[in-house]
Symmetry: C2
Subunit: 377 residues, 2 copies
């Protein structure tokens, strides 16, 4: 008895049936039973059936960790979350997990979740899980342009799948939503409403999606025959506060935009308090389109026009792709993308003011008493 564990209670779990007992009951060697259950070709069809039926009847289930010691496979997927990130992922975490685990358990796999307190510690946590072989492969959410996790797992030869794409995609498999298409569609929609000055507020600039979404915004402008204006592009807005700051800055321009496309819903929601403060009617005097489909967007008045992302499905597909990769399929052949679906809200529409009219309104407002808004609870 180890000193540190004195007094441990004896676990008295329900008597599990082991492969040895199953073999005895059948009058077979346990190796034979194992091969029968794993569909080895050197077992006759009749005994295979007999074994499987008996296993079913006796309720035999192999212990995955007992198998792992020989096979090297735990039949579990790993997921490392970064706990200090407060962005769009979080509202969907439950659905994401649900997708991952449901698809995993369909195949008899499980999900091992861990968190890293900061980005710097992500690789360390990951490395520990790999060393202790807690998972056969990993799902990497929120991919960055240069992603240390990718570098690490690639170097270690551990299977992984990305939720999102990345700069150097060699040997990577992924599932992603085409955010660039959504941004393009958003610009074209606004242009068709008659908007001429359409701003873009990007998310975190180290994330891979930000390059793509910006490219989509640009493509949309080009197709709509609108010129790019550097002052209409801002970045690093992930929270309502940051979104509000970006909105304020854009509206302070000599030629303010009449519409703003946000790469991230949570930032887009920052436009509401600013509009209220300036007396602008969102959807008519200032159009806003977001991306993510967060539930808060539907609650806002007017509701936020956004692009729904089916996060549960993402989880399902990622689990599926990862399991296939672990089973030996080529990583680069396992790539899937999907389009986001526009969810029309009340936050965008034909502009009731031109940019210069808007500028005049805002200038007039600044002459007046600036309403101090003390309540920031």
């Amino acid at each position: 008895m180890p000193v540190t564990t004195t007094g441990q209670k004896r676990l008295q779990r329900p008597p599990r049936v082991t492969i040895g007992q199953l073999a005895d009951a059948l009058g077979l060697a346990k190796g034979t039973v194992s091969r029968a259950l794993n569909d080895y070709p050197d077992i006759s069809e009749s005994t295979r059936l007999r074994v499987k039926r008996a296993a079913q009847r006796m309720g035999y289930r192999p212990l995955s960790h007992a198998q792992a010691i020989r096979t090297g496979r735990t039949r579990s997927l790993g997921l490392v979350l970064q706990s200090d990130v407060h962005d769009g992922m979080r509202p969907f975490l439950a659905e994401f997990l649900s997708g991952l685990t449901q698809e995993a358990s369909r195949e008899g796999w499980t999900l091992t979740v861990s968190t890293a307190p900061s980005e710097a510690e992500l690789a360390g946590v990951l490395r520990r899980l790999v060393e202790e072989h807690k998972a056969d492969g990993f799902v990497l959410p929120r991919t960055m342009i240069e992603d240390p996790r990718v570098a690490l797992l690639r170097a270690l030869g551990v299977p992984f799948v990305l939720f999102g794409r990345t700069g150097d995609g060699r040997g990577c498999s992924w599932y992603d939503i085409l955010g660039e298409e959504a941004m393009r569609e958003a610009v074209l929609r606004l242009a068709s409403f008659g908007h001429r000055r359409i701003a873009f507020v990007n998310g975190g600039n180290r994330y891979n999606y930000s390059v793509l979404r910006e490219a989509g915004y640009r493509a949309g402008l080009r197709e709509a025959g609108l010129a790019e204006a550097p002052e209409l592009m801002r970045r690093d807005a992930l929270t309502p506060q940051e979104g509000a700051a970006a909105t304020r800055a854009l509206l302070a321009l000599p030629e303010p935009p009449t519409a703003i496309v946000f790469a991230v819903d949570m930032a887009a929601l920052g436009a509401w308090p600013v509009a209220a403060e300036l007396g602008l009617a969102i959807g008519r005097e200032l159009s806003v389109i977001g991306y993510d489909g967060v539930p808060e967007g539907a609650l806002a008045r007017p509701s936020l026009t956004s692009f729904d992302v089916d996060t549960k499905r993402a989880g399902e597909r990622l689990a599926h792709l990862l399991i296939r990769q672990i089973r030996g399929e080529e990583a680069e052949a396992l790539r899937e993308t999907e389009r986001a679906r526009l969810r029309e809200g009340g936050s965008d529409g034909p502009p009731e003011l031109t940019s210069s009219e808007l500028a005049r309104r805002l200038r007039a407002l600044r002459q007046h008493v600036t309403r101090t808004d003390g309540r920031m609870t």
Copy 2:
């Protein structure tokens, strides 16, 4: 080679150092090394030190699943989430997981997460995890008054810890926030503002917290010297929609409440659209207090007065308690509770209207054109 797995890639992980290699390097038997690392008393202090240093230097880490086959312990905690629940838990899932995993990994444990598509399947999913021994113990969130998960795990003799209390608490350990105290405090606060008719909108009535919070509301009324009124108590409001319906019903009473205490923030948020619709100023003409501290509450205008729950800490404590229980401590000795902390917002305050004045205002409004609000996107 099994038929179904033909073509599997050979995993070529970095060469792990095994206990055998460590033993060879030290010129010791592997059993000796094992006992040294696990602090058996029959190993001399000097060799124990020598072994531990060498293990450190060579980067040896035991495979938990290799140990599990003999010890029966996986060193992993299990968590089964119910994926069809859209209640207050979800915004905090990330923090909850973060707390659980951080505390677990401090002790070298991991977290295995699974989801059940519905309440009915919860027990089945749990049973499967127990049978395959995917976890040494389980964390059960959202406890119900009669909880089938508790019955199952109790019968199987598997350690578990509750987030919340339950009807029959024999042999249970738990961590919980004293929601009843919060509700009591809410009522007393409103009473001290001068409110005389204080309503209560409860959450799901099968959850254990609902009995407690209702009891707290009643206790608050008693202490404030106010009479209970059955028509002022409603239940089963978990979403903004359900909260809105409850609010509407309460305000349609002959003697409407001037303040409403909600057991769940997400339901409380349903009061905002209703107030807007009826032209009532929340915080002055109708006071609202919630519970949970969801981020949406801080975003609402005026912001929702609520009780913050430190979900990350809950995760940490739960993991801690569960690990101790698995290590053999008595379950009933492992119980912790904590108070929720009031977060003052702008949604409550002294009533500017009495109940009868409020009733008159609302009656007058109903005479006018009822504003149709078609936009429910």
